[in-house]
């Protein structure tokens, strides 16, 4: 009988390089070009040779349709890289580091590249068409006009208002706060001021959600390189440790979750963050900042409650008090999030967390940032990631 030696993934791997393209509403580069640009930039930032990459890990639901891992191997001339993917959308991008850490922990790979990109700014149908083509939704939702992600989340916001009450200023504050952060990030797409009045002036999309409650639409890509934590220190920048992570699922199909979820006003972010904290051996009190998946203001609000910052129904008051804004006690989305930085489904939340933990966040630097939380939401899936500064 084989005697198993179980081990934790805590601090097995560190992030040694990040790369990103510029983020635009509609670009001229193809998605493969954008991804490779980000990949080359990450390799350069890590200060490694491309042949050191022996693993490629990414999200499994969206990017492989256009730029699968084998495409990266082809462009980099990599022979023998192990490839793996996990999750859909944000839950996938934020789960990738733990999957990469698993490969590193078992010695299957030493240096893993993670990447993600979108061309939904220039592609036909934009982000909405991702939800088209499922035959069940096409049959049971589309004919009524229940289509377009904002509609799904507007219905969620209406139920929240009904059960808990929520001021439009409170919801708007999430958008306003994201913009305040983005204004301090030179890489953010949206940097002009956004006041609550501006928020109220933005057109209603599906009530109560306005244009400013919805994330951006972007062409862009990012990538990062991970390696064994006992090697990471000898590489260029202060490495950022992958201290904990979690990937949670629910007993629903992806196609049905958004309408059938019994816990309609909760995300799986509570379970995901709890498990990630446990692996990282931290509590929420230890977290210095968080990059929270913010496809819509309402989803950020639910996660703030679910991760334990405040009770269910109290998220509006929490953000209204300014806690998540610049100067607040729990900085959230220090780059502006998906709402104001870029809509690259959370890989930019990871790269921002790395910049913060390296002390390279410029004017938006969270002083003394040592522990960061990143979340990735994709309806029936949810990921959480705890990254820490390597003080060893």
């Amino acid at each position: 009988m084989v005697k198993l030696k179980m081990t934790t993934l805590r601090n097995v791997a560190g992030i040694i390089g990040i790369g990103e393209t510029e983020y635009v509403r509609r670009g001229k580069k193809s998605l493969p070009e954008l991804v490779m640009q980000a990949v080359m930039s990450a390799i350069d930032d890590a200060g490694i040779e491309k042949d050191e990459i022996d693993g490629i890990v990414t999200e499994s639901g969206i990017i492989p349709k256009n730029v699968p891992a084998n495409e990266i191997a082809a462009n980099l001339g990599l022979d023998g890289a192990v490839t793996a993917s996990i999750g859909i959308g944000g839950a996938g991008t934020v789960a990738a580091p733990m999957l990469a850490a698993s490969a590193i922990a078992t010695g299957r790979a030493n240096t893993v590249l993670c990447y993600f990109g979108v061309d939904w700014g220039s592609a036909e149908g934009g982000p909405y068409q991702y939800h088209k083509g499922d035959p069940y939704k096409d049959s049971l939702e589309l004919p009524f006009g229940f289509y377009g992600q904002p509609v799904y989340f507007a219905a969620m916001a209406q139920r929240y208002i009904h059960e808990y009450g929520l001021g439009s200023d409170q919801l708007g504050q999430i958008a306003v706060s994201a913009r305040e952060w983005a204004r301090q990030d030179p890489t953010a797409m949206k940097r002009e001021p956004l006041s609550l009045d501006d928020y109220h002036d933005s057109p209603l999309v599906a009530e109560p959600l306005r244009v400013r409650d919805c994330c951006l639409i972007t062409d862009g890509a990012a990538a990062f390189i991970m390696t064994r934590s006992d090697r990471a220190q000898s590489v260029r920048h202060n490495p950022v440790l992958v201290a904990g992570g979690s990937f949670q699922t629910a007993p629903y199909s992806a196609r049905s979750y958004l309408t059938q979820n019994a816990n309609y006003l909760e995300t799986l972010g509570g379970k995901a963050s709890s498990q990630a904290f446990s692996m990282a051996e931290v509590d929420i009190e230890d977290v210095d900042f968080a990059e929270i998946y913010d496809c819509f203001t309402i989803i950020e609000l639910l996660q703030l409650e679910d991760i334990g910052l405040c009770g269910k129904g109290e998220g509006g008051a929490y953000v209204e008090e300014g806690h998540t804004s610049p100067g607040g006690r729990f900085p959230v989305n220090t780059h502006g999030g998906l709402l104001s930085h870029a809509y690259t489904l959370g890989i930019n939340h990871i790269t921002e967390a790395v910049k913060q933990l390296r002390g390279q966040a410029g004017k938006r630097q969270v002083r003394g940032a040592e522990v960061g939380l990143v979340t990735g939401y994709s309806a029936n899936e949810h990921s959480a990631l705890v990254l820490t500064k390597d003080n060893s």
């Binding site: 909405y128 035959p135 069940y136 096409d138 049959s139 049971l140 939702e141 589309l142 004919p143 009524f144 006009g145 229940f146 289509y147 377009g148 904002p150 509609v151 507007a154 219905a155 969620m156 916001a157 209406q158 139920r159 208002i161 009904h162 057109p203 209603l204 999309v205 599906a206 009530e207 109560p208 007993p251 199909s253 196609r255 049905s256 309408t259 059938q260 019994a262 309609y264």
Partner: protein, 141 residues
Amino acid sequence: MNSWPILPEVHREELEPYWMAIHRGEIVLPYCNSCDRYQWYPQPLCPECQRQLDWNDVSPEGSVFTFTTVRWPFMEELRPALPLVLGLIELDEAPNVRLVMRLENVDGTEDVCDLRAQIRTKEIADGVSIPVAHVSPTMQE
């Protein structure tokens, strides 16, 4: 002016019993005889006991679980139908099921969550019907 530019299609054989019933003016949903529980969207097995699901009638009485008034044309074809009040209807006999449909008898400016609703079927093209939720106003009629 066509406010139903997209006609429902079955798309998959698993969805056929639902739509055939709607076209007859009835509602049937996948049902587990063993658990006495309805399941939506259709799938092969009951998530509780993993028995195969059958189809069973269900009463059209229910309530509005949530709603939204859509103002943005996410598909160009829908522009003439806007603004559009959509809802998720929870059925009295299947409280874990929420059916997506348009609401009628509402103006979209008030919170209609938890109001009573009855699902009626409406013919929108030759031989093609759709369910629509007729919402009861707050005051007793």
